[in-house]
Symmetry: C2
Subunit: 386 residues, 2 copies
Amino acid sequence: MNTRKITCALAIMALLSVSLNVNAQRRNRIVSPEINENNTVTFRLYAPDVSSVRLYGSWMQGFGTQVDMIKPDTVWTYTTEVLAPELYNYAFYVDGAKVLDPSNVRMVRDGSRYESMLIVPGDKSDTYEVHDVPHGTLSKVWYPSPSLEKNRRMYVYTPPGYEDGTGKYPVFYLLHGAGGDEDAWTTLGRTPYILDNLIAAGKAKPMIVVMTNGNAWSAAAPGEEPVREDENPPDFSRMAGGGFEKSVVEDVIPFIEKHYRTLTDKDNRAIAGLSMGGMHTQTITNTNPGKFSYIGVMSMGLMNNPRWGDYNEEEHKKQIKVLEDSGVKLYFIGCGKDDFLFESVTNLRKFYDDLGFKYEYMETPGGHTWANWRIYLNELAPKLFK
Amino acid sequence: MNTRKITCALAIMALLSVSLNVNAQRRNRIVSPEINENNTVTFRLYAPDVSSVRLYGSWMQGFGTQVDMIKPDTVWTYTTEVLAPELYNYAFYVDGAKVLDPSNVRMVRDGSRYESMLIVPGDKSDTYEVHDVPHGTLSKVWYPSPSLEKNRRMYVYTPPGYEDGTGKYPVFYLLHGAGGDEDAWTTLGRTPYILDNLIAAGKAKPMIVVMTNGNAWSAAAPGEEPVREDENPPDFSRMAGGGFEKSVVEDVIPFIEKHYRTLTDKDNRAIAGLSMGGMHTQTITNTNPGKFSYIGVMSMGLMNNPRWGDYNEEEHKKQIKVLEDSGVKLYFIGCGKDDFLFESVTNLRKFYDDLGFKYEYMETPGGHTWANWRIYLNELAPKLFK
């Protein structure tokens, strides 16, 4: 590297600095979040002209909890208690208005909400972090869905080595919940990094992971959907109406098996979903016995309340018997103790117990949260295709 | 779709609504941005407890310009003048603190800064929008870079039809500027959608587009880089130090040509870059004559100021002569009239004019902005490989 190039580079930087505004320069001196040695975390926000700043963090207990930040000088500050190793979302509320942490580039989107993100390091959060291991490829793929009469988008993870080899791989179909989209298992679920890390550690088999958009009325995540002349509001009556479930079997799986090097027997096909996606998973697997040997239902149970419609227990029993006979290698159920669907999960387990249908059950602290769904993915992925 | 499934879906929604907070419910009634029929735009923010809200928008003239929003009741409001069809960034400043528009899911990241985004529709902005046309695949790909001694990430766009065919494609290497990363040409540059739309309209040939990370010291965009024990601050002395430029030729191109179905003669290879990437493009093409028949330099000119190092005009002249003899089909230069590098671009043009080296020049209003770089991409892509 010669002198000219270095000085030229510095000259470009000098020129570019013209376009940085004063706030950005102030921000550059502010470290936030700072993860301290004892795993407390210090948050800081430069906002000299506001009268209050409050902090929301996903580690806080209780719905809607926020804490006051204090301003010893010009920078609002708050230090947490010791936090367990985990991925957390947080945001500042400046005089009540939600603000991302301008000092932190890490951010997650949950539906239409953006929040800042940090990972407190430790054993439990280690698989969520980007490590210097071989990485798979994450692709945003559009595919035709005749069932839903549109072109739709999904994310496809191919494991490290896929592009360099000729071998065929098992496929894991991973479904999101209500309010989510095809991006959710990547951004909030950290699926590509969890798989990279589990595969690198020899804990999970290399596999393709397919993350669909479970909203039957839409083509892609908000903002990524083709513009239309007419308005296209969400049609929640189609949430679990059977259209998306049909499209997984008739559109998605054939597309994946045509375009990727896949193993296509049931022992090399897995499906799991959370909440609404757990409902989708049940519908798909109950009505397609022999399609998947590995099934995961997260934070979703038995929807048999008579108020909700014409649930037919006898039909359900028959379905599960046929499913069992088709040869299920693993039926995984995960639920948080504080999940608002905990009772429905208890009912599903009792229903399976009464039938003698075997499943693995994982119960965790906490509620209907991505913290739990990441834990279930981390638990489930190593059990697949073995 | 049976009654049970519909009512079940509604039940799930009812349960989920528990987890939506009150602010979110208030926000749901607020439309922002609203693009009015005459292409004025109305912005709204619910923030009853703050004393001032100002709006910044990329359509505003003058550095650091903001306008006051007004609060007729509980919602802060501002309506712009008529805006030209274009993609715009904007943000609210709540008592001085920067806030994304909570009613708008569209958002862009520029380095570590996030801003809300909208597209005012019209002919000029039509290629930036997501339309219901065949879409290419966008992949986040990790590749080994022996030159830079790390695994690094790039984005690869494969055009519609690539996965269904067996044909080979030309490749366009597209380089970002200082402060950017491998995500910039996608998020700010709208490259996948511009290519989808140009290809669908028959204006551009189907091509593979490779968007690298031009920061030689890093592996991937901020937040996507492997964690390290030691700190890994940006090393700006490596901005145009030759390392990245070498890695494009020695690492990136061979990887792409090995892993994708590519046409590998120079007439099927193009390269372009903006600002720092325009410098990279010049260095790469000046020192690798016969490698690319199509070359684009955006918002970057001649860096021959003696203060910046040992520029050798004679050597440069020789390089351009050899480059010309190697057979360049298109050398495109784009610059904004108000670009702070306008003079350097004028000097580069004069240098080429004096040598009789032919180029196409596009001059636009405005400065060193993504608005201009999108225009140049939109102009350049249809000229490639023809």
